[in-house]
Symmetry: D2
Subunit: 341 residues, 4 copies
Amino acid sequence: MINVGIIGGSGYTGGELLRLLLGHPYVNIEAATSRRLAGKDVCDTHKHLRGFLDMQFEDLSPDEIKERCDVVFVAVPHGTSMNIVPQLLDGNNNVKVKVIDLSADYRLKTSVFEQVYGMKHTNPIDAVFGLVELHPDVADEMFISNPGCYPTGATLSAAPLVAAGLVDAVIFDSKSGISGAGIDPSVASHYPNMAENIQPYKLTTHRHRAEIFQELNRLDNSLTNISFTPHVIPSVRGILTTAHIFTKSTLSADEVKRIYTDFYKDKPFIRVIDGIPTLSAVRGSNFCDIGFEVDEHNRRVVVVSAIDNLVKGASGQAIQNMNLMCGFDETEGLWVAGVAP
Amino acid sequence: MINVGIIGGSGYTGGELLRLLLGHPYVNIEAATSRRLAGKDVCDTHKHLRGFLDMQFEDLSPDEIKERCDVVFVAVPHGTSMNIVPQLLDGNNNVKVKVIDLSADYRLKTSVFEQVYGMKHTNPIDAVFGLVELHPDVADEMFISNPGCYPTGATLSAAPLVAAGLVDAVIFDSKSGISGAGIDPSVASHYPNMAENIQPYKLTTHRHRAEIFQELNRLDNSLTNISFTPHVIPSVRGILTTAHIFTKSTLSADEVKRIYTDFYKDKPFIRVIDGIPTLSAVRGSNFCDIGFEVDEHNRRVVVVSAIDNLVKGASGQAIQNMNLMCGFDETEGLWVAGVAP
Amino acid sequence: MINVGIIGGSGYTGGELLRLLLGHPYVNIEAATSRRLAGKDVCDTHKHLRGFLDMQFEDLSPDEIKERCDVVFVAVPHGTSMNIVPQLLDGNNNVKVKVIDLSADYRLKTSVFEQVYGMKHTNPIDAVFGLVELHPDVADEMFISNPGCYPTGATLSAAPLVAAGLVDAVIFDSKSGISGAGIDPSVASHYPNMAENIQPYKLTTHRHRAEIFQELNRLDNSLTNISFTPHVIPSVRGILTTAHIFTKSTLSADEVKRIYTDFYKDKPFIRVIDGIPTLSAVRGSNFCDIGFEVDEHNRRVVVVSAIDNLVKGASGQAIQNMNLMCGFDETEGLWVAGVAP
Amino acid sequence: MINVGIIGGSGYTGGELLRLLLGHPYVNIEAATSRRLAGKDVCDTHKHLRGFLDMQFEDLSPDEIKERCDVVFVAVPHGTSMNIVPQLLDGNNNVKVKVIDLSADYRLKTSVFEQVYGMKHTNPIDAVFGLVELHPDVADEMFISNPGCYPTGATLSAAPLVAAGLVDAVIFDSKSGISGAGIDPSVASHYPNMAENIQPYKLTTHRHRAEIFQELNRLDNSLTNISFTPHVIPSVRGILTTAHIFTKSTLSADEVKRIYTDFYKDKPFIRVIDGIPTLSAVRGSNFCDIGFEVDEHNRRVVVVSAIDNLVKGASGQAIQNMNLMCGFDETEGLWVAGVAP
């Protein structure tokens, strides 16, 4: 049994960590912090957890939380995390805590981070990029940087073909549920703006492109023609990515199927399917469903991936990392089917 | 470990039974029948269960399925169930199987059934109405009739005040997600008809009124002024019932709160809350959330209940019945929080 | 040709006034005010009007706008309007302008207003309640108070039976699109809170009850048992009201039909239909569709009305008032079918 | 005043023709056919038109309808139209009627049609492709083939750059409201399948690709690398197309803006906007809104177009064609703003 704490427990990512950790057989939820809501019942914010959790948000310093926890999830905005993580990792007093950061602060090389996010990085530390299927070495780490939601679905959709050196260019056209924009009301999340709509944004400049580029370029450093355009759709959860992949040669559907099946063999949360993925099949679960068709016209393979942005795209993947870091089975507490319809 | 079978496994109710039973520690899913899909993979229909179930639909007679199972759920349309249940319960060959019928065939007294459904009942059998919170005696039964979705949420919202003899009249104004209409496309479930809409139907003549009447009248046989009007809303799951309850005397909020809290003491799936229930807090879970306000103008209490129609309103409640019939803890396999947001 | 101004042109009501007035053959849109957006293009806010309007929001005092206009619509929050309307109506300089106030400030008797809204009324003026179908005398007025959205649909659904002295009690259970909450993001309008949900609120205490009470009580002053419970639904536009009407005697469907048809004879925007109204049939239009069923059990008639809250429930009705006040045909600029599907 | 008939008036396209033609000052709606609904009130199907139309569907032969009409719209499925159009155009008895076919039967060269649709074309006739902005010569024709919904939005989004010879390759990633699938319930349009989802389909093989290819290739016959992938989104109306355009050289935003503005100068229904188009701004209207961003990484321009699939993508465009064919102003009856929010 391990004690787990969450820094930033009042948002959607924090709520989803709590919901999923409640089903983990080896976890005691020790603390969830929120400066603004300190002293308030966690279930006043996360009403679906009523009856499961009798705890209040606390206002804890990194030093305080690490005294009580074996694992700490950091679920705060980018730019904030870099002021918390180093203290958590600082091993004085012989306290050692494992840390999983869900912010963007440690996903990119420092120089790239500073350019993309337009801010100075005050506390650079090397971290493994916790996309477990591509980075099995997370098992040896004390600190993991959890991937962004879009990069998870996009990278997984293209990685097998890229790793095989078969790709000339990729255009990722991604469609995300609005929960990715967070728990606070905004113009984008205003129901009349979102309902019966689909809203592209940052057509060419979304920051997540840098993560996708980093990960795919790592698999094939000759591949640089990578584009990414995000949209929000009238859905709470889910990211569906349509990856338009131009290949160096013409591939048959059988070849593509074999490449994906081999690449994701023994990866329990990747389901390579016949047919086209759908968000409802992964809702609430840690799966990434992948399907595809081959275009006979243009040496294009269209690969579609579907994830739940709050689970595989955030909190579920973070727990998947925790499982490996702690020596648990990768699927512990996560082997739950999606809720459909 | 018990072997469980589902007759009619291809619809939403069947799919939800499968999803929930997968998380039950003492259940082996032995068989799911579908005449139309016999031989097909269950997960071709219920895609969210891929990776969890490696089984095909079968075309089994009642005698065949009862040979292999300890418990059988019957999830077929009304009028069909009455031709299946008697064979299942027939104890020849010393085979004894517990049966939970999710259809309407055994919920009402035979004479009422025949009037409301406009058909002859070919095989009447007495059954306990499996609304567990009002019928704890289900534990002693071999055969349970599982309540309708609307009657579950409506009856639970008013039962405490009715049982206290305080009610003059009730108008239930219920709003249901469209999954209640089933997995087959229909005019009602056609997206352009449902989106950005709310559709009342059978304003005064819905068949579920008879179940609500039966259950509330059982608690107070002087209460007959009971009205029920259903609506479908642009939601897949969930039933929210607004119960406009006219009371015999003026009640304070404190009194009402105490009456509900006492009545549902020790009922793990009823959460009497401060504030107003919301569908997202119960989505995917077996809870019934109940909140209320007292109207100072008209001796009216407005009680709101929220359930997931496919869980507490159907498959979850059926498993709750199974748990009691089999001597398991009432919450076994069902103690899971809703998926929100 | 008349010159029309809008005080408070940047919200949904203002935008809808602009959209509808663009189709009015006798109207010149002279000015739209917004303190916050003064100088900005109107079409930056109301993007659907691009190509139709080349004007900027202005920051105008009541005296300034009335110099330029024949009719002024006041579309500001309650409590603000009372500081604007008197100046508009003040006839010094021999300037006479017709005024239609869309706020709540002049809908209720002053004493009732002060109690319901919990504020002192600083500038009481008598105004006709501009529910045209019940107040044809608006034609003689210089100042009209435009009804609230819920009271429009609710009052119209019950008025014929109430006016006939046939009603014992009414429970209005209303369901509104979220645009009624305005153009600014809020917790209620946050997409993840609203999607796949239906949210009751102010179960017994919504301020619009006072308007409904005033109007129905005016038709039958013995009727006081009037309840109102509102909900928001996952829809941008539309209010559907389910009126549970308990009658003094049992009525046949034919009688009810005749009462409604007679009452609304020569009312072009009321469509008494066979069957049950649906929001999509009135979307974008000024119609109120009304249908009903008679309950044989409980001397209850269930009447359903459907309106577009932004049109018949606000801006369309305001223009309907303007038409009568200005001697135009009641339907001028408003005789447009809804947009369905 | 012209007499207009609609063959196939009971679907969404027929209903939208009726709605829009009702606002046309020079049109008398003479007839709407439906074999299945002959004799039934048109407004029983198109409920939003109640009060506007007092007519019944008729079962008319092509010869019968052309006797009574000056213009006939053919709104029937592909494969059916080819058996109707020739009779309509046949000039015996000196009856001359203008015909606009909304099916796919006459959009493509016959050989291409036969390959793409997998059927023999029984009655080939040459027709101008009625995408008015690219085919101003429709004004001289008696017979026009109205473009498909996807090809309208996709072609318009890329045409200016293609016509300038600047394009290497285009990937159209289109997202359509489900009304494009028609008025009859289907698995795709089943609310639980569509809500909170986005469903790609025919990733590489949608038939509309051939139309897009034909039209863009006509503008630059060296351009052949054209891909098209459609999706349905939880929206009733609207198609948003994200065009990923790879250009031969790097273009500045100013250059792109000038190219689009020049190309669509004097095209009243094309609005080249700053910022990103949104479906709600065009809902119910005949506009095509176009916006874009330039990608500094990959010589890519991302152009987004938004149309209402039932208006500019079908019935509105058909009336735009009718206007030109009949010598009316192009915007007659169509100069109406969208309904937002």
